[in-house]
């Protein structure tokens, strides 16, 4: 999915396509013949996490169609990883493969390095490579401050004189690139990184993306979808930019006043008859766009206020719950599509926001709405590549995109985000301060904890998807500067 870049969209798809050439040969030769070479995982697994906990539905239709055929094929690829331990990873105390931390760190550090010529297709997506790698590294507990200077000058070349960031020098500004660039700079942090952003030009650029119907386009003359809205609002919030539209904005010219004008209403129109949220009004409900939409609402106000006001929450809950696949335990992005590790974040990340919106209803804080343990098992057992990096599913190759979002999904499962409604002071609160009221709670055994201390990744901000504390730091920096 795409994130701000929706999963089915270019950078991820491109990266997936690209990372294959060099790595395919290696991977294939490694995975062949594993069945007989390896001792079954169950022999080592302590009885506390027996295989029979793998849920299968007793219901299966006989009618075979393209969708069910590919689903069955995919399950054949995945099952060995759920039932066994084909790569012979060391198991944790619950009988699940341990997080291969060192290998993932090495993989992501390589992803920040140099690429050969056949990676030219990533030319426009370099800000993403930086963001995915830096975010993934910090999630694994790595200190990335050593990259601060290089991140700063790499993006100085990609910043457009008219505001915003493109993929690189001379490229047109794009909201996806701008989002990835700002988040990368926020992750490495520090005055030099913050101050290299031309905030005034950025404000103008974002104003030019705001459309009279309430939404945002990704680029001048580019497509309008909910990624645009999310990326723009994240940037406005982090950089503490004025909410008023600049005079050149097409929306301003039509009479709209602020970046928020008609925005929640536009997002509301993206909710479909299924209860999920699509890229734009009437588009099919999709996990990647759902996260962007919920994130956007959670930037404007508290989850409870915004979701209940602008969405059909029971329908959303029903759709979201349906995305967890059985027996795999991971998430699919759309109805009747395949499980994919990147939705660990796109769908997994929706849960924190939705839980915060229903928190306290009848059964109190911390209602269990989904199965954290099944997602964690899918990530650890099925998505860890044999030589580091995480992937869509067995049979696919790890890449920086799936590594970042599997780890973010792991974090969403391993920590419980709670919204501090006491802290939010309604209308008196500063504009776009709603996303700064989150706290974190531990997930306990009864909530499905099947990971040990050393399988645990760091907490990340549930809306900004950057390390805990970094969003607050940049916002504070620009508030004090104002």
């Amino acid at each position: 999915m795409a994130t701000p870049q929706a999963p089915s969209q270019s950078p991820s798809a491109r990266l997936q396509e690209l990372l294959t050439t060099s790595q395919r040969i290696e991977e294939l030769s490694d995975s062949e013949g594993f069945e007989d070479a390896m001792e079954p995982a169950s022999a080592q697994a302590p009885p506390s996490f027996p295989k029979l906990q793998m849920f299968t539905s007793p219901l299966r239709d006989e009618l075979v169609t393209d969708s069910s055929a590919i689903e069955a094929e995919t399950l054949d690829d995945i099952l060995p990883f759920l039932e066994d331990n084909p790569y012979d990873f060391e198991l944790n105390s619950f009988g699940v493969p341990k997080l291969q931390r060192a290998q993932h760190v090495a993989f992501l550090r390589r992803a920040l390095g140099n690429y050969p010529a056949q990676f030219a297709a990533m030319d426009a997506a370099r800000p993403w490579l930086l963001y995915w790698s830096l975010q993934g590294l910090t999630c694994l507990g790595e200190d990335v401050s050593e990259y601060r200077e290089r991140v700063t000058y790499t993006f100085s070349a990609a910043q457009h004189p008219m505001g915003g960031f493109g993929g690189g020098h001379g490229q047109l500004p794009h909201l996806a690139g701008s989002y990835a660039a700002v988040l990368s700079l926020v992750i490495v942090g520090g005055k030099e990184a913050y101050d290299m952003i031309d905030r005034k030009a950025m404000w103008h650029y974002l104003g030019n993306m705001k459309q009279p119907d309430g939404g945002f386009t990704m680029a001048p003359g580019g497509e309008e979808d909910v990624r645009g809205a999310f990326c723009a609002m994240v940037i406005l919030t982090l950089l503490n930019l004025p909410l008023d539209l600049p005079p050149t904005s097409p929306a301003k010219i039509k009479g709209d006043e602020t970046f928020l004008t008609k925005l929640p209403e536009w997002i509301s129109r993206c909710q479909t008859f299924e209860g999920g949220i699509g890229a734009a009004p009437t588009n099919e409900a999709h996990g990647g766009y759902a996260f962007c939409a919920l994130g956007c609402l959670a930037l404007i106000g508290s989850p409870k206020e915004m979701l209940h006001k602008h969405l059909d929450v029971p329908a959303l809950l029903s759709w979201l719950a349906s995305r967890q696949t059985q027996p795999e335990g991971g998430f699919q992005g759309r109805t009747n599509k395949l499980v994919d590790g990147c939705y660990s974040h796109w769908v997994g990340g929706c849960w924190g926001i939705v839980e915060a919106a229903v928190q306290g209803s009848n059964d109190g804080v911390g209602a269990r709405l989904w199965r954290r343990e099944d997602l964690v098992r899918y990530i650890l057992a099925c998505c860890q590549g044999q030589k580091g990096g995480l992937r869509d599913k067995p049979g696919k190759h790890p890449d920086a995109y799936h590594t970042c979002y599997n780890l973010a999904g792991l974090s969403a499962a391993q920590h419980r985000y709670v919204y501090d409604y006491e802290k939010s002071t309604g209308a008196a609160a500063a504009p776009l301060s709603a996303a700064f009221n989150w706290t974190v709670a531990d997930v306990v055994e009864e909530e499905g904890k099947i990971w040990d201390e050393d399988d645990t990744v760091n907490i990340i901000h549930p809306v900004f998807v950057v390390p805990w504390g970094q969003a607050e730091a940049v916002r504070k920096y620009f508030e004090e500067k104002a």
């Binding site: 929706a6 089915s8 969209q9 270019s10 491109r14 849920f55 539905s57 219901l59 009618l63 169609t65 393209d66 992803a111 140099n114 050969p116 010529a117 030219a120 297709a121 990533m122 030319d123 426009a124 490579l129 990259y147 290089r150 991140v151 000058y153 790499t154 070349a157 990609a158 493109g166 993929g167 020098h169 001379g170 490229q171 047109l172 680029a219 497509e223 479909t272 008859f273 299924e274 699509g278 890229a279 009437t282 588009n283 099919e284 409900a285 999709h286 029971p314 809950l317 759709w319 719950a321 109805t335 009747n336 599509k337 229903v358 209803s361 209602a367 269990r368 709405l369 989904w370 199965r371």
Partner: protein, 308 residues
């Protein structure tokens, strides 16, 4: 390939080499000389805002090397508009490129810009049909198709028939279901949805459910239709119970039928025990991965916001 540097037609351009910002940029790509050079010329002509035939040639060459480069596409669009270039020629060039790079969304956005300017949808439905034969769930193609229907008011131009054929082929294609909903209930041309249309759609969903009751797509669809028509889900009680005979759990055929039954009971006066029973069946046997969600639904019984 001849280089631009030795081409007299480009002698007036001073190429603008890539600035990497510093000595060791991150995620740097070791471009082929041919690509680097073409990009240097593109940066130079963009800086001058040059709109010319030769720039079209340059963008074509870069797209050939890297079709995922949104800047090149966006700039190409501007040049096409500035030159009043023949857009039919542009489409003809675009077709094989689109087929080769199915998942590339820049190509679809570019196509939308061109077809919009052409002010004609001629051939587009057939082209999309060809693309969908290769990937029936491609998000960009479906979005483009919706745009096309709206832009050219193709509501009654065979779209429903196409969707029906696609669903006939794969009743699980949720993208096709979404398009069907869009065609029937998303019209923006003032045509009112009549009762007989609503009945027809409910009947169609039911018929499809009978072919594969565990397929969630038509269940979602029919619930969407009911919500649109402000009809109570109770009108489907008997139908749902047919796939979920609670008295004979071994004959249950669909967790989605159970889900709907639970919703119906939750809204019925004095039926919360039945609702609990159905939700327990889901949590314990028929859909255990969502046990937490089903239990949450139980906890909501009796509260006003319970209807899911």
């Amino acid at each position: 390939m001849t280089s631009y540097a030795s081409d007299p037609a480009w002698a007036d351009i001073e190429p603008l080499p890539q600035d990497d910002g510093g000595p060791h940029p991150l995620a740097a790509i070791a471009y082929k000389d041919e690509y680097s050079e073409a990009m240097s010329y593109l940066r130079a002509v963009m800086a001058k805002n040059e709109m010319s035939e030769r720039v079209l040639g340059l963008t074509e060459r870069i797209i050939g090397m890297n079709p995922a480069h949104y800047t090149v596409w966006l700039y190409r669009s501007r040049v096409l508009a500035a030159l009043s270039y023949d857009l039919r020629t542009e489409l003809a060039w675009l077709n094989p490129t689109a087929l080769k790079h199915l998942k590339n969304y820049q190509i679809w956005h570019h196509r939308q810009t061109i077809v919009d300017a052409l002010d004609s949808a001629d051939g587009e439905q057939a082209f999309i049909a060809g693309m969908m034969e290769q990937d029936a769930k491609n998000y960009h193609v479906w979005s483009y198709r919706q745009w096309l229907v709206k832009r050219f008011a193709l509501w009654d131009a065979g779209e429903l028939e196409i969707v029906e054929a696609m669903l006939q082929h794969d009743v699980r294609n949720n993208s096709a279901w979404n398009h069907r909903y869009f065609l029937v209930f998303g019209r923006d041309d003032g045509v009112v949805v009549e009762q007989k249309t609503i009945d027809r759609e409910i009947e169609y969903a039911k018929e499809t459910i009978r072919k594969a009751p565990q397929n969630q797509a038509p269940w979602n669809y029919v619930r969407g239709v009911l919500r649109y028509a402000k009809l109570s889900p109770a009108s489907l009680k008997e139908f749902a119970a047919g796939f979920a005979p609670v008295e004979r759990p071994e004959d249950i055929k669909s967790s989605h039928a159970l889900d709907l039954l639970a919703e119906i009971y939750a809204q019925e006066q004095g039926k919360s025990e039945e609702a609990v029973r159905v939700l327990d069946l889901l949590a314990e046997k028929y859909d255990p991965i969502r046990a937490n969600y089903w239990n949450f639904r139980k906890s909501q019984l009796g509260s006003a916001s319970a209807a899911a």
